[in-house]
Structure formats: structure tokens, C-alpha cells
Symmetry: C2
Subunit: 109 residues, 2 copies
DNA sequence: TTAACATGTGAACAGTTGTTCATACGTTAA
DNA sequence: TTAACGTATGAACAACTGTTCACATGTTAA
């Protein structure tokens, strides 16, 4: 039956568990308002923890934890300058991803 | 100081809480392997709950719950055909969003 | 009508996640 | 060197999330 072939075909072509896992982890990283705001801010400028904590009005610790999560998935990079760490988005893919999501949301509000 | 103006500027231009919330909820919807696989499957064909549960090898209930979450955020639509409900992606934005994420992940593996 | 089927849904439980707190580390200015 | 600063991190707790289970609803075939 045609229908059964469709099912087999999709099952066969499903991305591997590894890809799916990485993808869903990447998306879930954005799935938190705090991290979303961090990404928004970093899409405007390179910023240090202290500045981010002012912009988001949150503790250094909370910001730092979230930045670590973003860094673990290669979504942001950072450079040290003295006692400060300046963070920025890692590549334009991230911005594309973010903007694609923003576009979707704004169209529906 | 310039630096302070940057901070003020970013704070002022930050999207409203509503937009950020909707955006992060949208992303978090994708932030689960089960839903990611559902979206992947639906990007290939319109499918009913039963077929999805075969493809993902999961219970009807689990699939149905996840589909509801996807539907609540307008990410999928469905049509009834007798006792079956056929689901499909709601618009091409979703696919763009999904593919943009996939592109990002695949480039790094 | 009855039985089998396909899906939907509420409750509950386990597992995960995000924040706070306390503290540690490295850097700079005095 | 010492004190203040900026950031990082582990532990712990609260809050959230996803799955399963049990059952309900609606549909089709016999």
C-alpha cells in the first residue's frame, strides 16, 4: 500500500538520533525568555556579563549560567579583556535562526 | 559614556515581554526530540496520529499530547477525515525555522 | 446496535531545568 | 600586597515538562 510506503520512507530518512538531539537541544536553548533576551541583546552588540545583567535586570550569576549554556552549544563565543568577558553571537546562523523565529512570531501578533 | 548609551539603547529596543515570551515558547516547542521528529516527519507528508506513532515508535497518547502543544502555538494544523486526524505543518515559516536550525547543526557535526 | 478503532484528555509521577545562594578564582587599582 | 571588582561554578530547591495510565469521545464496519 502507498500509505505504508510513505511511513517506511519517512522512517528511513529521519535524521539520526544524534542530529535530532543536537537540533532539539539547540532549539531548547532558545526556549527560555532569559536566553532569548540575551541573544537579542548580543545581536545588537558584544557585551560583558555585567552589562547583560544591567540590560536584563538580573543577577550576574543567572546571566553567567545561561551564557555557559549558550557557549556549550557553540551559540556564543567570548573573549577575555582583563577581568571582563565579552560575549558575542558565534556566527550569523544564530541570528538567522533567531530572526526566522521572530518573523514567525511577529506575523501572528 | 558610549558604553552606557549602548546599554540604554539595547534596553529600549528590546522586544516586549509578550514577543519574547511567544518567541521562546515557539523555540521551546522545538526543543524536544519527540516534537522535533514530529516536525521532521510532517515536513515530508501530512500524517495521522496513528502513522506518527508508528514512525516514532511511541504511544498514541504521547503523540497526541505533543501534537496538541504544536497546535496550541499554531505550528501545525489538522483536518478530520472520518475517525482520523491528519496533521500538517501550518506554513512554510515553520519549515524555514526547522531547516535553519538543521543547517546550523549539520554544519557543526 | 455492538465491537473495534482512532484520537483526545486529565491526573500523577519522574525527570529535567532555572534560579538563588555561597563561595572561589583571577584581575586591577591603590 | 590588599581590597574591590568581574566572572565562574557547585549545590540545592522550586518550578516546569513529558510521559504513562486510565478513561472518554466519536467513528466505522459488521
Amino acid at each position: 500500500m502507498v500509505r505504508e510506503n510513505i511511513i517506511k520512507d519517512i522512517s528511513r530518512n529521519m535524521e539520526t538520533g544524534e542530529v535530532i538531539d543536537k537540533l532539539s537541544r539547540t532549539f531548547s536553548i532558545f526556549g527560555d525568555p532569559t536566553r532569548t533576551r540575551i541573544v537579542f541583546a548580543l545581536s545588537k552588540a558584544e557585551l560583558c556579563v555585567n552589562e547583560l545583567s544591567q540590560i536584563l535586570d538580573m543577577s550576574h550569576s543567572a546571566i553567567s549560567h545561561q551564557l555557559r549554556a549558550l557557549k556549550d552549544l557553540d551559540l556564543v563565543r567570548y573573549r577575555k579583556d582583563g577581568r571582563r568577558s565579552y560575549y558575542s553571537l558565534n556566527d550569523e546562523h544564530i541570528e538567522n535562526l533567531f530572526n526566522e523565529g521572530l518573523k514567525h512570531v511577529l506575523e501572528r501578533m
